[in-house]
Subunit: 219 residues, 2 copies
């Protein structure tokens, strides 16, 4: 049985839970190797200050079966970074699954990988998807062929269990769900604009969009 | 306004989502500094292979307002580690909040910090809590005075939003909930033994307990 190669892009300023949530869940797949990929293997500082060490580089990363990009303020720089966009295009060509969580979808978009595809992203950025030719689609996890995208940050968990099911089967996904005790009981039922106070929605949207100081380039 | 000092223990073999989930949520607290604490600032390898760099050491960590311990197979070694247990006892003395997620509670127990207190842990290990004098209590998040404990792995999210509410107020917790899009839609409704197939429960329990090769020492 060959080993599944999973590559997850990490970068300075990532919202690390976009990455760490799916990474923990996907690590429960049998026969999978997860690569934590960046330009170098120097330490990366995530948005919260938490520090990570990549396991390999864009240049050294093997051919991937699963390609993943998470979001965070740092993705703005990636969207104009030809080295990163070239890596994504090259890996996406033969990958079985091309995936993103949160604003990681915008990076796939900047690489030209969302054209004509149904996709989602963090609720505060969903209006940007059509700039890349994507069909913005309702849903915490959206599957269009081999493209799987999740909503904002914590949607990465729902995304990852859904991906484990598609790759490893329902049994593997259920074992991971129980092992990671994924039986959420949110203390507050305001995790999506449709369920939140409009004033809160406007305030959080303004905070999140403050660092989007220029419209991302269409590819 | 003084800065809240939050200290989160990290260690080799931790189940990193126990740590990274709460870390991401707590990082949304205003006026808080989060320390990622271990014996040295050398690279740590988590259970999945993901690599982290601590920000400070047990010796250099300032006095904490919030003390946190997550779980994972690596916690077995901590439970017999006088340097770690001493750090926890010393910090817990004046901390406003003493907290754990998953089997991190067993480490607090080994440090003698659960005696006569209501607490929870991962469902597969809840029978061990009384060994430390704790009162095993139903609930994804259990609060007993200044002790806040969460269930297994992903319970760390519910735990962290509840803790943000207590520290920063409901408004801060709601903004974090919406910003992190915490509106979970689990693909599988089997995240707790009460909702899962008994055969699956037995299989996952056996896998998780396999590395508990000796009963933890009572303190």
């Amino acid at each position: 049985m060959t080993t599944l190669q999973i590559g997850m892009l990490m970068y300075p300023g990532m919202t690390h839970l976009d990455f760490t949530g799916p990474e923990q869940v996907l690590s429960r797949l049998p026969n999978a190797t997860i690569h934590h990929v960046w330009k170098s293997t120097d330490v990366i500082v995530a948005d919260s200050g938490l520090r990570f060490v990549p396991s390999t580089t864009l240049a050294d990363c093997p051919d991937l079966n699963v390609l993943f990009v998470g979001g965070g303020a740092g993705q703005m720089a990636l969207m104009a970074d030809d080295e990163v966009l070239g890596f994504l295009r090259r890996q996406a060509r033969d990958a079985s699954w091309v995936t993103a969580v949160c604003t990681g979808a915008l990076v796939l978009g900047a690489a030209g990988l969302l054209k004509g595809r149904r996709a989602t992203t963090h609720w505060a950025f969903v209006d940007l998807l059509p700039l890349f030719g994507a069909i913005a689609t309702e849903g915490r996890v959206v599957v269009d062929g081999n493209l799987v995208t999740g909503g904002g940050v914590t949607a990465g968990l729902d995304f990852a269990f859904a991906l484990v099911e598609r790759i490893g089967g329902a049994d593997a996904a259920q074992a991971a769900t129980l092992g990671l005790e994924y039986d959420p009981q949110p203390p507050f039922a305001c995790g999506h604009p449709r369920r939140a106070d409009p004033a809160l929605v406007e305030r959080v949207r303004a905070e999140l969009r403050a660092n989007v100081d220029e419209r991302p380039r269409a590819p």
